[in-house]
Symmetry: C2
């Protein structure tokens, strides 16, 4: 992690670092599949029309064009494409927009509610900074319904993510849950109709503090000092159980949408409180900025690393996608895998026990033993023991040094006894212990079989 | 597979199809790791300078630019970039060029010989056609040395690929091996000095036939009819053991490079013949077109699907990468995963036993049982059984139908006995068989635990 990326914002891991990332991806996949989520991948490119249709004018997308075309343009043999041509191709900047398109295109082949996970790279041309890369991996789960989708899925997806994150060597985290209807109903109840504007200001609360947000609310949304104060009082409510309901009611604001939101959020929080105690809170400051959620919204902080921002966010869309008058509501969450792994590595939260899969290095005493050494390795691999074979005979010391330098824990020697018969010995090069072994049944201790990724000792 | 891609050349799989692809990737990864290959990923973009440095003027690369920049150019606020600016970014078109850069950049952090596998998407803007996509996944293995690399690795990597491909449900395949030195030495020995030109023509042999190649050799390389005939006679040699050596010698051509190539290829083929009989042949027609290999070259055909082209190709580079006067030779192979999976799906060579991971659907008799049903599912998941829970109480028939439609084999029912105590039953909805079960110890048959991908019955 001390290495500098050769292209700013595009990180590449060394093998031992990649093992940590791979462990994160494997663990997430395992949890998602245990909960019945099917894995899909979508293409890396979308049309610009598709990418920008959600109304988010996010200009930091990467456009893609065939170089041959660009050269024709430069040579004056072809007109340049309008940069905003909706048919132009660009790299996806998240997995939600591509997934929504996938659902519409394949609706006839999917069984709803459709539970899918998707772990892929996405690209954003933003200025690189800590925790923000230009190429990064996201791991998403969503449940999508055809026409309707039970509110129970709002708790379900959060529970799956709590389990998935809980299985990672990252320590404590907290899923903060809010509800758009609750917030919007409250704002309308106090007379603020530009609810999107209010949310945009509230979203800045952690960055700029309540006084600045109060100023923004007055300047940009036209709130009175009292309205701004009320909006901030709401944002100040955070409870681990459903007691937030009473605290909101105590503010004396009434609105139909507020009631709906209170009920929905209380249901989600009650379920999370019961089934994943300590993992989630109702936090009425969560706004999720520009995203077009319509109900539950989530953010997740890593305890002790709050300044990293959210590592797992999402929410519910009443219409994730639509096809004619068929509407597909959805709810889901997305883990910022790269952001998380960067922090895990820079803070040495987790380490790989070695940087190669190899558990056993089969040494060569004589060059002509290579094929027999391959037989030994093949027997080990049959039992799931990663093994590689030396390509030439070297002195023992040199072979041990080679294995040591690569982090391989065991070296296998093939020798001869006094009668000239083959004898096998295996050496643990960490302890120096060496003993006779049969290639057909020797196995290393379970913790040495594959590289282990574990939480580093504090 | 009958569905049409919404963007030509960019394929997306349905969940059941993705399971086949995932099975291929998992199987390859497992084999590569058992052989001590460490997994890495490189960024999707390279600079154009990096992509084009191998001398391959492959214009079908996708250039990448920030849309915000393009708009500034269109508005006349910024000069357009030279399409050939070496600092321009573009999507990688293979995994070899990025890997070579990675080795140079991280040489100080890697232990050589470095064994790595890499499975990622690559992009080429070519005209889409059968077996050729614009976005596709490659799975590469390479061994890279620092300064020198034993020729034994040429056989080693082919053996790993033979094992990896042999573990896939794809039937028979054949790795065809040749050697650049052998071919080049032979061409020089018969007086043809433009060996790259000869290779380019020979590379077309399968597509256009020997007569057309003879014509090309005369027209484009200036070969005499006799020289063309000799080159074609060489290309006609194919043996499963080292007998090709005698057949080449019988042609009476001598050249130092030819001798070197014959020795190298004989070593590789002898090892493959002994350790993976029936999986490989010496095939002196293999040219690998424009690629800058310097020794062994490989192509692999799927038996019965020869017209698909090579599914696994590669070779040796004396200088895969270099850094100052430090040279990194490498040898490796690359599987065209997407090409292979497209064929597996279109020919129904392999099928997934179901399209969702879920093995058990926990039904609800009463809405308020949801949390208890989650407890049942949690107990099942603890034993690795993927389970999901109904979100609302429905009639049995409807719940069975739901599970059936999604391909879930088992439905779990929570009922009450006459005394009001909880009773659990599980139904195999394929056979209709239903019996009492304890959520703490029931397990499905092994073949129903996870979706299985198997070779379809002929």
């Amino acid at each position: 992690m001390s290495r500098k990326a050769s292209l700013s914002g595009f990180h590449e891991w060394l093998p031992a670092e990649r093992l940590v990332e791979q462990h994160v991806l494997d663990t997430l996949r395992r949890t998602f599949e245990l909960h019945g989520f099917a894995g899909i991948e979508t293409r890396a490119v979308e049309t610009l029309g598709q990418l920008l249709r959600k109304g988010e004018v996010d200009k930091e997308v990467y456009a893609v064009s065939r170089l041959a075309e660009d050269e024709e343009v430069a040579a004056g043999r072809r007109d340049p494409k309008d940069p905003a041509d909706p048919k132009r191709l660009a790299l996806h900047f998240d997995l939600t927009v591509p997934f929504a398109r996938y659902v519409v295109e394949n609706a006839g082949h999917l069984a709803f509610p459709f539970r899918r996970y998707q772990m892929q790279k996405v690209w954003r041309g933003e200025r690189p900074q800590e925790g923000r890369a230009r190429e990064f991996t996201q791991a998403d789960i969503d449940v999508v319904g055809d026409g309707a989708l039970s509110p129970r899925y709002d708790a379900d997806v959060a529970l799956v993510m709590a389990e998935a994150l809980g299985a990672l060597p990252i320590g404590d985290f907290l899923i903060r849950v809010n509800n758009r209807k609750l917030a919007e109903g409250f704002y309308r109840g106090i007379g603020l109709e530009d609810t999107a504007g209010v949310l945009r200001s509230i979203d800045k609360l952690e960055k700029v503090g309540p006084e600045e947000v109060a100023r923004l609310l007055q300047e940009e949304v036209g709130a009175s000092p009292e309205q701004a104060a009320q909006a901030l009082t709401l944002a100040d409510i955070r409870t681990s159980d459903t007691s937030f309901v009473e605290r909101v009611r105590a503010l004396g604001v009434t609105h139909e949408l507020l009631e709906e939101g209170l009920t929905e959020l209380a249901d989600v929080v009650a379920t999370l409180h019961r089934r994943a105690p300590g993992r989630a809170v109702a936090d009425l400051s969560i706004a999720r900025g520009l995203d077009y959620y319509t109900g539950t919204v989530y953010e997740t902080v890593l305890v002790g690393h709050e300044q990293l921002g959210s590592i797992c966010s999402g929410g519910r869309y009443d219409a994730l996608a639509s096809k004619g008058n068929r509407v597909f509501p959805g709810v889901g969450l997305s883990i910022g895998v790269t952001r998380l792994v960067m922090r895990m590595l820079s803070q040495q939260m987790a380490v790989a026990s070695r940087s190669v899969p190899t558990a056993v290095y089969v040494a060569l005493t004589a060059d002509e033993d290579w094929s027999e050494a391959q037989d030994v390795a093949a027997l080990l691999r049959e039992r799931g023991i990663p093994a590689e074979v030396a390509v030439s005979a070297e002195k023992f010391g040199k072979q041990i040094k080679y294995a040591d330098r690569r982090g391989i824990p065991f070296v296998w020697f093939m020798g001869r006894d006094d009668a000239g018969a083959r004898v096998h010995e295996v050496k643990d090069i960490r302890s120096g212990e060496q003993h006779g072994a049969d290639p057909a049944d020797w196995t290393p201790p379970a913790e040495d079989l594959l590289p282990q990724v574990a939480r580093a000792q504090d």
